[in-house]
Amino acid sequence: MRAAPVTTRQNRRFGILAIGLVSMIALAGCQAAEPEASGDPVSGGTLTYASGDAEPTCLDPHVGGNYPQALIAGQFLESLVSRDASGEIIPWLADSWEVSSDGLVWDFTLRDDVTFTDGTPFDAEAVKVNVEHLQDPATQSSTGYLALGKVEQVEVVDDLEARFVLSTPDSALLESLSQPWTAIQSPAGIARGMEENCQAPVGTGPFIVDEWVKQDHISLVRNDDYSSPPADAEHDGPAYLEGIEWRFVPDSASRYAALQGGQVDVIDNPQPDTIAAAEQGDAFKWIDAPRPGASNRIELNSGQAPFDDERVREAFVRAVDVNDGIEALFFGTAERSYSALSSVEALAYSDESLFETDLDRANELLDEAGWTERDAEGYRVRDGARLTLRFPVSTNQSIPAEQSLFEQVQATAKDAGFEVVIELLDLSGWYGALFAHEYEIVSAPYTKVGPDVLRIVYHSDSITPAPSGYFANLSQLNDPAVDALLTEAAATSDPDARAELYEQAQQIILGGYYLLPLYDQQNSFLLSTKVQGARAISTVSTPSFYDAWLAG
């Protein structure tokens, strides 16, 4: 915010550049040069974390499976594998793995020194129980259930050897298993039943759920017998912190004020203006950890008029100008994306030329498509119907800056004659609008590790709704060529061939103007400078406080 009084655009650009530089230095500082900067880690102390995400209704991420659950589950549950900063899958609870030549049988060799915090040993039987738990309809799993959709069964070869038998080859299996929604819990814990397991799931992680005071906080205490850090952790043995107090503070201004006042040590979901302000001082550190999977994008509903006509879709994409808005509203904390995938995905394909704003071209295309007349308010009409785009916006998912950006989309689209009707809705109402196909454009995040997210979001199978009405292919892209490419990519284990298939698919998706990419799915943490060694895990970018400690 304090950056506001700059006078010219050049100055603003410079300011943003400076912020960017400072943040890069800061990031470099907290990632690479950690130990030398702040001395040796000290044990003890309780870290207070303030989360702006919704309070989970169940702490077991197998049940349902959303991001708020993943955020906290990462502190007490662990997965078979993880992903390092370069995108490589690395060992965690599984030491190593091997896949059969037909891609249908995966053998995982497990660590032999791990026990759950209730004393149950971690073994192949536990893995089997967890997969069965995820696939049991009574668990009500959604995210984890879908991720393991190709796993037919798990066989216990011996104590430390678990064999996954698949129905079709799945090149995304390791990525799916790295997510917190498929994390491994104690079979004894699961056996307690859903009500109890939701209150305090039992895992192998560095912390243990001690108490959950609804709408206030969750107390986590250190697991003193901890022995299973992922391959990219900085140290062995128990965590440095004695515990974490995980608080729920829904209001972003209160959250930031609490960080400023020292009542909390870490906050998530900071507003862009507060990140920029924090970056200018040296009181806070910023961890910028975009989520994997799809980028934040506006999907164009090609399943019905007017966007069943590619010319109208291209006209919209050409008419809308978001670059200035992203710069101003996000204070340089978000970079414009030209891809369907998050920038953390190595296989993301970008094409900036497709998204250059060109109002003349937009007008031309709309004239060609028959939207030639304009009414008194300047909106285009055809056969007496106005060129109206209904835009349901979820107030739970879109931060104020994003809502403002959508207002700018609305204003710039008007120049070409589009009437954009923004409807701010709560989550239930928003899903209701989508299920009823009452939208022409919509922005919906989708977090998943790896490029397989493309299959979920753009395969024509995802147009068919689940019994609840849910469907993930919101652009309603229905192209057999895309389907074939995505299905083949998901079954291809050769990395180069897989990359080639995903690139071809993305070219068709982007080239058909089914979406307008905006930026990565923003995911940020602000930390007090006394917090050292905290990082975001490179799977779904949840924070890890295993290596964290509190300096003086």
Partner: protein, 291 residues
């Protein structure tokens, strides 16, 4: 949600005061200022294009978060829009929300109040219980339910606020009518042999209307405030509509760096409340002096 309930005593008390004492309690200059402000509101409502300096919805991302200046009297918002022009453009919507919601509340309240005070004991008892039921429902919950059922937007927000103020009005109006019914001048009219209809139209209604009018002027500002709370929860006016409450809610995010985004719409709400109240009281005084 019906602060107006609080006014019951205010209004009853003021109805009994001799006009002269009330008269010198407010300086006349205040009345003039209030009238001027209401004139400005009327101009902004009827001719927003003449009063505004710029297009209220003109986006200019590069001009975002400008301090108030000669070019932008009230500064600019996060999308570079002119806050003064948006405040002007929002006058109509905001007043419409305030006036309509108050109107809905008053109409319902009047119906219930008349039923309760003239319908005999049994009807009085049941209507009073009904009003209590509505009262026991927290106002914001009533509003939330209406919005969740019928979808968000200015119309539902207005209806929701109107509905939730109705029980308050009903109570006040009932109390008002009951006390007038037994007042001395009504008794004397009855003794003089006037017909009940004439007593109602000539004596009771005019004497009840004045305080109700005062209530209404107070209600407008309150309705706008409550509508803004719905905007804060993301359930009020839809963008890009420049409604004061929505502007207040949107600007709150940037309070630390851009105070002008909330202070000016906030001042308009406060100003409207004070101006309508002052004018309402002044008019009520005149009404009493003539009757």
């Amino acid at each position: 949600m019906s602060e107006l309930e609080l006014r019951q005593t205010t209004v009853e008390a003021s109805a009994e005061h001799p006009p002269t004492r009330r008269r010198d309690r407010l300086p006349r200059i205040g009345t003039l200022l209030a009238a001027a402000f209401v004139l400005f509101l009327a101009a902004a409502t009827c001719f927003p294009g003449l009063v505004a300096t710029q297009d209220p919805n003109q986006i200019a991302a590069a001009e975002a978060f400008r301090l108030p200046s000669l070019e932008h009297w009230f500064g600019t918002d996060e999308s570079g829009r002119d806050v003064y022009s948006r405040v002007v453009a929002g006058t109509g919507t905001s007043l419409l929300i305030g006036v309509t919601a108050t109107g809905i509340g008053l109409a319902l309240g009047l119906a219930l109040g008349v039923l309760a005070s003239f319908g005999g004991r049994a009807l009085d008892f049941s209507v009073s219980r009904l009003v209590e039921v509505l009262f026991a429902f927290p106002g914001l919950l009533l509003a939330l339910l209406v919005i969740v059922i019928y979808g968000p937007g200015p119309v539902t927000a207005t209806i929701a606020v109107g509905l939730s103020t109705a029980p308050g009005y009903a109570r006040i109006i009932r109390g008002q009518l009951v006390s007038i019914r037994s007042a001395q001048f009504v008794e004397s009219a009855r003794v003089l042999g006037h017909s009940p209809a004439r007593i109602l139209t000539r004596h009771i209604v005019p004497n009840a209307l004045v305080p109700i009018f005062v209530l209404a002027t107070l209600g407008i500002g309150q309705a706008i405030v409550w509508a803004s709370a719905l905007s804060y929860l993301g359930l009020g006016a839809q963008p890009p509509a420049a409604e004061w409450g929505a502007m207040l809610a949107a600007g709150r995010t940037y309070l630390a760096g851009a105070w002008w985004m909330t202070v000016f719409p906030g001042l308009m709400i406060v100003g409207t409340t004070i101006a309508t109240t002052v004018l309402g009281r002044a008019l009520a005084r005149r009404g009493r002096m003539h009757s």
